[in-house]
Symmetry: C2
Subunit: 220 residues, 2 copies
DNA sequence: GGTTCTTTTGAACGAGTGGTAGAATTTTCC
DNA sequence: GGAAAATTCTACCACTCGTTCAAAAGAACC
């Protein structure tokens, strides 16, 4: 049939005499499958990424994948779980802490941006491929996603209640705005760019807290 | 699987009879195909939406679609073109107008939010399914998307140059933030919600221009 | 009614998919 | 070295999908 031509990596200790490829030869596991699949899903989409493609990226036939995973959807589920696991607890800590709302918001943005940047592929999948989840798991994810947003919203509400945030802006809309600002990272952020995630987070906090306009401008 | 819902073609000529219950029986055309496909693509994803499903939604076999469209990808292309067509020109007008940057920004946000709200399904597809575009068309879309962002960015730069916007925030990052805020609408906006697109746009402008924090707060 | 043009059908196709089973291979451990 | 366990490969299946096309059905016009 069609023989796939692969690039040969130059810097490998060839253990077997075969004109076969020498791939990274990493020990297969659920973890590495999910990691590799994340990259492919993020780049090409979940539906457009075949198990053959995942196997090939790992230097393995797709049959081998099934020893470590139940099926394709399980990979997707694990990616979603990873994002939630990494995201939820830190935000809960920040929300509960004894801090002024402005500081909470700053930390929440920093946290969210950090996750979005560190786990860029997973984050992309999290917000793009949720339509492929089905059944109770889909509902669980939706619920936890909403709970996460709610934590953000509470911080904004707290600021308004304490009189340090404008009360003209609806907390829900403000939350969606700020989260959208952060989540949009997955559309443009690339590691090694001009700014570090920390710097980006600082910019976003500046924007969300004080806006673009200079206070001494002509307007009120 | 599901049985085919039969149109009542058995009866006599029914040119003016509109009281059908089963299917809309709209005259097939490229336009209605694209419109229906947009809804399905937005809800279930491009890859997961079959031509059978589109045909069924229109009360027609998928073969009939091919009289009006070249192939599945063309539907996607048309959706992308629609979004750009509706978006580009108005923003260009705003960017070129003789207005203070703050007002330009306000109008740009209002415009973008309006498009995102009015064309919610198409907008969702525009930012989610771009991985399915291939060849020169993919590059063209990417270029025009970037050009659109650039117009936004110019407005911010102008504000900084004229000294009415903070110069601490990188214009590119600020633009990504604001656009992200708006584009995130596709994740949560539903027509008929609590706020109108105009109100949402006003909130977003408030946020982007002045931020959440009250100026007279303790901090600097 | 007859002719022509437009539109839809229905069936078929070929490629590609996720998934399975068992043989084959490699690793582990004694 | 060798048995047992762990892991991967090969071959295959059932199915779905996008696409094609000849034939049927409508519509329009005279």
């Amino acid at each position: 049939m069609s023989q796939k031509v692969r690039l040969e990596t130059t810097s490998k200790s060839n253990r077997k005499v075969e004109n076969k490829v020498d791939k990274p030869r990493i020990r297969l596991s659920q973890q590495v499958i999910v990691a590799t699949a994340s990259d492919l899903f993020a780049r090409n989409g979940f539906g457009a990424t075949s198990l053959d493609a995942i196997g090939e990226a790992l230097g393995v036939t797709k049959g081998a994948l099934y020893y470590h995973i139940k099926n394709k959807e399980e990979i997707l589920k694990l990616i979603f779980m990873t994002v939630l696991t990494v995201s939820e607890e830190p935000l809960r800590q920040i929300a509960q802490a004894e801090l002024p709302p402005a500081e909470k918001l700053r930390r929440a943005i920093a946290h969210h941006v950090a996750v979005a940047a560190d786990r860029s592929p997973a984050m992309t999948i999290f917000y793009r491929e949720d339509v492929h989840l089905t059944g109770p798991f889909a509902r669980e994810i939706a619920a936890r996603k909403k709970a996460y947003e709610r934590l953000f919203e509470k911080i904004v509400e707290e600021g308004i209640t304490l009189g340090v945030f404008h009360k003209e802006i609806d907390p829900k809309i403000a939350t969606f705005g700020i989260l959208g600002m952060c989540n949009w990272l997955s559309q443009w952020y690339r590691p090694g760019g001009t700014y570090t995630p920390q710097q980006i987070a600082a910019f976003f906090n500046q924007l969300a807290s004080f806006g673009l306009a200079l206070p001494d401008a002509s307007s009120l």
